[in-house]
């Protein structure tokens, strides 16, 4: 917080020491409105489900603000508890912007149902989120967002965003502080990158293994592995693992402990 209003020569001293006089040099003040609150999120979509996950630690610098600040939010549904929601938004980066973004998207999705009399589809919600982010193109929400749901064909849907609204539908995506640790692991274990069929050739003639959607249990196991690994090597990740499993039957939420060191 101290970093938010930092003058160039901030120092301890007497109040009259720094009192401006007519001979004072002009002083430059700066205002940086963003903080990185750390943490990591990820999403993986399957044949008929999507799993979203994020750790629950909130940091600023080397301090831990809280061990339980969720990064996963239900979007839409009924009332403040989002009863019956079928869409999940995860945000990582600047938590205050994440909250504001969640509130805005939730409002829009609820308004959509009031006005159209039917719930918003994931693909529509995905595009709406892109617009919300782009609307603040020159003072962006400082977040990496991932949106998960079930599409109109009943397949798992997953969309990932940059802070200004560029988005893409993917099989899996890691975001946040430990994304560089988790993403190659997901490439390897979900999309079978660098896996080849043994004996199918030499060098580049080797046939790559074609990625097929994984069963839910396998994906849950992968998510837990990804986070326990990230916790070992990244100081901003830890405390708790919040997981949301989206199926045609609704959203199931799980909270698992992670290392608190």
């Amino acid at each position: 917080m101290a970093g938010m209003f930092a003058g160039p020569q901030e120092m301890m001293g007497y109040s009259f020491n720094t009192a401006p006089t007519s001979a004072s040099e002009p002083r430059q003040h700066s205002f940086y409105p963003y903080t990185d609150n750390g943490g990591s999120t990820l999403g993986i979509s399957g044949a008929d489900f999507t799993i979203m996950a994020g750790d629950t630690r909130s940091t600023s610098g080397y301090s831990i603000n809280s061990r339980h600040v969720p990064k996963l939010f239900l979007i839409g549904g009924e009332g403040p508890k989002n009863k019956g929601a079928r869409i999940v938004l995860s945000v990582v980066g600047f938590a205050a912007d994440g909250d504001a973004l969640k509130e805005k998207l939730d409002k829009e999705v609820k308004m959509y149902k009031y006005q159209h009399g039917k719930p918003m589809t994931v693909s529509a919600c995905a595009q709406r989120l892109s617009h919300i982010l782009y609307n603040k193109r020159f003072f962006p929400y400082y977040v990496h967002a991932i949106l998960g749901g079930i599409d109109e064909e009943g397949k798992g849907a997953l969309y990932s965003y940059d802070p200004v609204g560029s988005y893409e539908r993917e099989q899996c995506r890691a975001a946040g502080a430990a994304s560089s640790l988790i993403m190659p692991f997901l490439d390897n274990q979900v999309n079978f990158k660098n896996h080849h069929i043994p004996g199918s050739g030499e060098g580049h003639d080797l046939k790559p293994v074609v990625a097929t959607p994984l069963p839910k249990e396998t994906v849950i196991e992968l998510v837990r592995d990804a986070f326990t690994s990230a916790v070992e090597r990244h100081i901003e990740v830890g405390d708790g693992l919040q997981m949301m499993i989206l199926t045609k039957d609704g959203v199931e939420e799980q909270l698992l402990p992670l290392k608190k060191d």
């Binding site: 560089s180 993403m183 490439d187 390897n188």
Partner: protein
């Protein structure tokens, strides 16, 4: 971007297995985003001990040559091959000698102990602080990615073949998420009386 450690790019990793160790590196040499060579190995043998060097390419060749000279002198003077532990301390003291004008390299060592055949790996920072790890050591511009891969794939007591598969998958998937590393890999599997060197093709982009 202008850090000397990330001008040329590159990645290296070492892992412990059951009665064996593995060390691997990528093959890219670049100048910022321009790839200059796709055959620039970063692992150097010193007898039966192997040293991986990532960082500034000019320092990689200077340090590898300097250590070749020092290790050759050691062998002539002492009439014996240098052990992994002794090489580790030699690397450490050689780097610390340049405490205030360091070589911009992140070395990795892998070998089997001469007396009891125990696997030995370690890594260093650029001024010679040794990281004695029991599991794996990563280094280079893809070190974050390698940490994630190794932490996810590595397990204790892997045999030589499983260790080869593990270190190869870890390196290839890690460098695929790093623009400054890749273009194939060299993998060494070091066993008691056998060293296997393999060339991995990998993505050529």
């Amino acid at each position: 971007m202008s850090s000397p450690f990330s001008i040329n790019g590159g990645a290296a990793v070492a892992m412990v297995g059951k009665d064996c160790v593995a060390i691997a590196c990528d093959l890219r040499l670049g100048l910022q985003s321009l790839t200059v060579s796709n055959n620039y190995p970063k692992i150097f043998p010193y007898g039966d001990v192997y040293l991986g060097l990532t960082g500034l390419a000019t320092d990689i060749s200077t340090v590898s040559d300097l250590l070749r000279y020092k290790v050759n002198m050691y062998r002539l003077r002492e009439e014996r091959a240098i052990s992994p532990q002794t090489l580790a301390n030699l690397v450490s003291s050689s780097l610390y000698e340049r405490r205030f004008g360091p070589y911009f390299v992140s070395p990795v060592i892998a070998g089997l102990n001469h007396k009891d055949g125990k696997p030995f790996i370690c890594g260093f920072d650029s001024i010679g602080c040794i990281d004695f790890a029991k599991d794996f050591i990563v280094s280079g511009t893809a070190s974050d990615q390698l940490f994630g891969m190794c932490e996810g794939l590595w397990e204790p007591d892997l045999g030589p073949d499983e260790l080869f598969e593990t270190i190869s998958q870890a390196l290839l998937s890690a460098v695929d998420r790093d623009a400054l590393s890749g273009w194939g890999a060299h993998v060494y599997i070091i066993e008691k009386d056998k060293v296997t060197k393999r060339l991995l093709k990998g993505r050529q982009d």
